[in-house]
Symmetry: C2
Subunit: 530 residues, 2 copies
């Protein structure tokens, strides 16, 4: 089901997931701080909302015609699932379908995103100033940055489209810096344009239809059109229109587009900006774009998201796709049949660093293959990787630690692998002038990964919880007593892990029947001298 | 403030922390399963209650005169704090005071615990059958076990008292097995009695005044009287009465006492029993006691607690004292001044296995001293030990993992130490007959510990959250909007970790004032050729 952002917001409101703020809110210091409390203020996930700020003003007292939404795309898993026209449990299936059945976009003649077109002096005079871009990390960020901004480019040789989501550092009404992390595909286009002695044509899209945003943040193989994946998510082609000043097509129903040329001749300092790894990302020399046109809907809405300390909107939006990709790689590309699930740990650790692989009775070599693959599949991803059994809930960090504490001997089951890079995040090392991070560009192999085999290796006694039938019976009494609703947390009943016998089972049965003195007599007969 | 169990339950009820269950409840399969849902059913800590089952019946249809309470001593930190006559924040201080100012008990002539006295044939005919002992882990346990049972013994040479809490396996109306874990002080008494060719006199106390229970579960140095610590907790001496058939004194206001002789000539199979490490603890040859007298109050209440998969009552009751002891050891005995706090991780991991040490700007050797000390201070405690900085909340596992992911390089900062034992928990290895765990008795050094230095080692950029003043201001708006109450989760604002400059600070200030184009111009002047 294809929806533009306006339709998506209407649906969120209908489901009680949109919070409208009518009172005047300042874009520099109030928007992101307010929404951030939703993630650092102990608010349960189910209570998290998408926010729509209807009356935004700035530090200089100017009120904007255009409202700002934050959290609308993935403020919670529920919001994200709604954008995919499914529920939380259905997310994985929608992604699998999209990856396996992409639908190419279609070019249309007209699009609402071009209801208003600003060119030439208009851009220089107004440009970004028309839009109420909030500051993400007030007190540390050195400008408003675009966050939910999809950069559309084309391969200068093949013409194949790329869509990636990178922050944009607003430097002038008509100039914006771009931070393309190492390994992003836009860099390949930029290199090819530079080799031809040309700038790279680009369009920066704000407020795309949600499925486009969901596809834009995924890591898909180079050469795969993110818009076809978005079509796969929507189960229909995404309509595109041609830009006014560059040879790029953009979603016809997007809110706002900035067209322009990314210099391949010059770089400019960009940053610092508060990043998803939980630290301020330092300033680096990065490309920038001179804006050649601004187009937007008459009723345009500005979209921002929170991508700093996780959990956040940016982690929710990436998590499902990331986990599915790792799972498909381990299970199918590498054919490790015992792999059941991959979970990228999130609060604070930013999905990339701590990975849990759930496996079903794996052979020991399969465990190590899976651990090594996960630690080296993506650059800078998988610093700590843990393999756990099927009875360990990989989303429950306490359960993962429990497995590490009782099913792992560090001297045998922990391998430390050197030759790794630090990936996206600190520590950073500045150049002599203290202006620029140098490590990130050279990527020295001065970090390491820790692979942890926390799989059960020998029979263990049953989990010390009552048998399932007794727990289920007690749940009925619990409900009769009118107590607060139960949400089962595994493990919530006992089960055997191999070290149990018929005799012990019989004794347990006698005990429940009140016949434990019979067992006591039997044990008395087995006395030994001390 | 000294209170007996009846007074404590009245106080819990007054504070809304007691749940009375009037409907008939079966002791074998319903009591512990019901309370267990409180810990495995997603019930928030603040909603956990002490339970009082007023009408208990057994598998054979017999109803008991005596009610059963579970969770009354430490069903939640709030309940535990009330038993110490303080609030949750005051727990640590009460313990420090008690350790530093113990108050010796006083012997009195009469005690309510002896309102009813059963001797000789009375014991053989009724004994344990008078009391509705629940089954802790129905389906696996082979009998009802006493759980909140304090074993009182005296050193056969010095007469110095010991009180320890060990499970009791009810085998006959007048016989109970005891499981004294390796390293418990009762073993020293037992060895001395055996050397003298005598049985060990003992009294098993159920339903002691809460401060006695709190002291009984602590690990205090050998020779320190737990009852003097209990007196320190109550700020007054604990009244004791002499037993009827053994040379032992017990709390005058306890609910129930079983007096008896622990054989030093014979051992008997004891267990299996579901233990706090999360697994069924296997059967072992252990001592047992022949009961010589039963005494109890006329209005006696049976006390049971949940000590299986943590979090549970038994982990709440141990946690504060355990952490204080490790802290005092590291900070004072070892004089590691940078140690700020020690946290024993709990859900599932049972306090013993995963320890977090919070330190303030420690030297690197202090970090390693603290890690080694924590891993080897107590037998089988400290398999994974992590040192974190002062800005990391050691009670928040996600924050600890975050520190491990960004402030630790495994090949430099992880040391694996061999020569360790597995401690309390699996894996177990049975003897040839499959009846008995043999590893636990020989304690081979076939496990290891992992020490992790996750302390910040070089300057890092600020945490990517808005400055404190902006978050605080946003909290006011949040409250104006009438949104759900905020509970701050650290980190909830950004702060510098050394890698920040005056220039960047100035830029951030300009940005908040809406003057970021000035910074844009400055950066333009620093362009470099790509």
């Amino acid at each position: 089901m294809y929806r533009d952002l306006h339709q998506h917001l209407a649906l969120l409101e209908e489901k009680g997931l949109l919070l409208r703020v009518k009172q005047p809110i300042q874009k520099e210091t109030e928007i992101h701080t307010l929404v951030r409390w939703q993630y650092r203020g102990g608010i349960p996930e189910a209570q998290r909302k998408a926010w729509l700020f209807e009356d935004v003003f700035d530090a200089q007292g100017r009120h904007y015609k255009i409202p700002v939404t934050v959290g609308a795309l993935a403020g919670s898993p529920q919001i994200y699932a709604l954008g995919l026209d499914t529920d939380v449990d259905g997310i994985e299936k929608v992604w699998q379908t999209a990856f396996r059945n992409p639908i190419a976009p279609v070019i249309v003649e007209q699009g609402r995103v071009q209801e208003e077109v600003h060119l030439g002096d208009d851009v220089k005079r107004l440009g970004f100033e028309e839009f109420p871009t909030p500051i993400s990390t007030p007190g540390f960020d050195n400008a408003p940055y675009t966050t939910c901004t999809h950069w559309f480019t084309k391969d200068p040789e093949t013409g194949i489209r790329n869509v990636g989501n990178y922050r944009g550092h607003i430097k002038a009404r008509d100039r914006i810096g771009v931070y393309p992390m190492m390994g992003q595909h836009i860099i390949i286009h930029w290199d090819k344009a530079k080799a031809k002695g040309q700038p790279l044509q680009a369009a920066l899209v704000v407020g795309a239809p949600p499925v486009v945003s969901y596809a834009a943040v995924q890591k898909v193989p180079f050469g795969v059109d993110e818009l076809a994946i978005a079509g796969g998510l929507a189960r229909q082609p995404i309509p595109l229109v041609k830009c006014k000043t560059v040879d790029i097509e953009v979603p016809a129903d997007a809110e706002i587009v900035f067209e322009g040329l990314i210099s391949t001749e010059w770089l400019e300092p960009e940053g610092p900006f508060g990043e998803s790894h939980g630290y301020m990302h330092p300033r680096q020399y990065n490309p920038f774009m001179d804006v050649t046109a601004v187009t937007h809907r008459k009723d345009a809405i500005w979209v921002s998201w929170i991508s700093q300390v996780t959990p956040s909107e940016s982690s929710v939006i990436k998590k499902s796709g990331y986990e599915t990709m790792f799972y498909e790689h381990l299970r199918y590309t590498c054919s490790i049949k015992s792999v059941k699930r991959v979970v990228m740990h999130e609060p604070l650790t930013n999905l990339r660093k701590f990975i849990v692989i759930q496996m079903s009775k794996p052979g020991e070599t399969d465990v190590w293959r899976a651990l090594h693959q996960a630690a080296t599949f993506h650059q800078g991803v998988g610093k700590i990787v843990v393999a756990v059994d099927e009875d360990i809930d990989p989303t429950n960090t306490d359960a993962v630690l429990w497995a590490m504490c009782y099913r792992m001997k560090p001297h045998l089951d922990v391998h430390i692998i050197s030759g790794m890079e630090k990936g996206h995040g600190p520590p950073f090392k500045f150049n002599e002038e203290g202006t620029e991070d140098v490590i990130s560009f050279y990527n020295p192999a001065n970090d390491s990964a820790m692979l942890i085999n926390a799989i059960q290796k020998e029979p263990l006694p049953p989990i010390s919880l009552p048998k399932r039938e007794y727990m289920e019976h007690a749940k009925e009494i619990w409900e009769e007593l009118g107590l607060p609703p139960i949400k089962e947390e595994p493990p919530w009943y006992g089960y055997s892990l191999g070290q149990w016998s018929e005799e012990l089972d019989e004794e347990a049965k006698l005990a429940v029947e009140g016949r434990h003195f019979e067992t006591g007599e039997k044990l008395k007969a087995r006395r030994r001298r001390a």
